[in-house]
Symmetry: C2
Subunit: 199 residues, 2 copies
């Protein structure tokens, strides 16, 4: 005999499929929703459908967008000759927050990962190559995470782009601002040593 209504269990299943939400966390969210008034829950469900139906991937950078071309790719004031390659849309948001970068983006929607069986075909690499092939790109900045899969992906893309003669760079990695040498892990210190600069 199930403890809670079947419809509650089904909604819990849906929440538990979201990344980073376990079964108990999902149940907690569902219980919360069951105590909200029905109109608010309907509005939430409606927003979910609306967001999904109105969202496409920008035909240029592959970021999520409401139009065929996203506002960043449409922006004439940005430098269309520089592409910053990131793994996920949230990485675009992170780079935009620093208000310094004025080029365009390319969202891979994942990284190449032999251990998680993600091959180059599982990320939007073909679209990146097409953009570079079309010409007009002077630099591609690889901004994948500084971890095994992120590095693998960056190296793979760098090799693919070599024939095109564009400048390919990678974000600098080292001690985070405000960080302590004492608490930094070995890999970070290694990267920081590796990338040391003349003063």
């Amino acid at each position: 005999m199930p403890l809670f209504p079947q419809s509650v269990e089904e909604l819990t299943d849906h929440f538990a499929r979201l990344p980073g939400i376990g079964r108990k966390g999902a149940a907690r969210l569902v219980f919360h929703l069951m105590e909200q008034n029905a109109e608010d829950v309907r509005a939430f469900a409606g927003a979910m459908i609306a967001a999904r139906e109105n969202t496409v991937f920008c035909q240029e950078c592959q970021n999520i967008s409401s139009g065929a071309v996203c506002p960043i790719c449409k922006d004439e004031e940005r430098d269309h000759s520089v592409l910053c390659v990131v793994a996920e849309p949230r990485d675009v948001a992170a780079v935009e927050r620093c208000r310094e970068y004025k080029g365009l983006y390319h969202v891979l929607h994942g990284v190449i990962s032999p251990t998680r069986h993600k091959s180059p075909d599982d990320v939007r690499l073909k679209e990146l190559l097409e953009r570079v092939e079309r010409g007009g790109i002077s630099e591609v900045i690889l901004a994948t995470n500084p971890d095994t899969d992120g590095d693998t992906t960056a190296l793979y893309i760098a090799r693919l782009l070599r024939p095109f003669g564009v400048r390919v760079t990678r974000l600098a990695y080292g001690l985070p601002m405000g960080g302590h040498v004492e608490y930094a892990d070995e890999m970070t210190i290694l990267r920081a040593l590796d990338g040391r600069r003349e003063l």
Copy 2:
């Protein structure tokens, strides 16, 4: 100029209102959903509406239920003379998991908390009193959390129930099974000392 489509921002707002989910976590969930196929997202939204519309509070124990009386309260094999008072529906699930308790429940849907401005009227206490008044209850087990608000709530309920002459008990608190004295916090050790038993 917003970075992501308006509908995506609106859905993020809804997720960010859920307990324990911040703005960044909400965005992460939304990005994930935007990459799922539209039918799956519609199914999720439909499950949300269905769960909320089909769920009521059991007129006896106030737990969430699909019928006017929940399966536990309806179960003739359970001991209808014992009530276990918990703060939330998820606490019912936790007690049920130990497969030992055979009485009924009463879900308060919150705790009394002077610091968070939750008065006795904000929890389902009236309904508990009505059940006890009706008679047939021999014991009320207070199973609120062992923290300030949980203790306040338990003490308040214990005092309210005194005139009815029912046995009022509280869950035992002490070292968790598998725990280490070395790592236990002072309050837990204090409770464990307080509740020590003869060997």
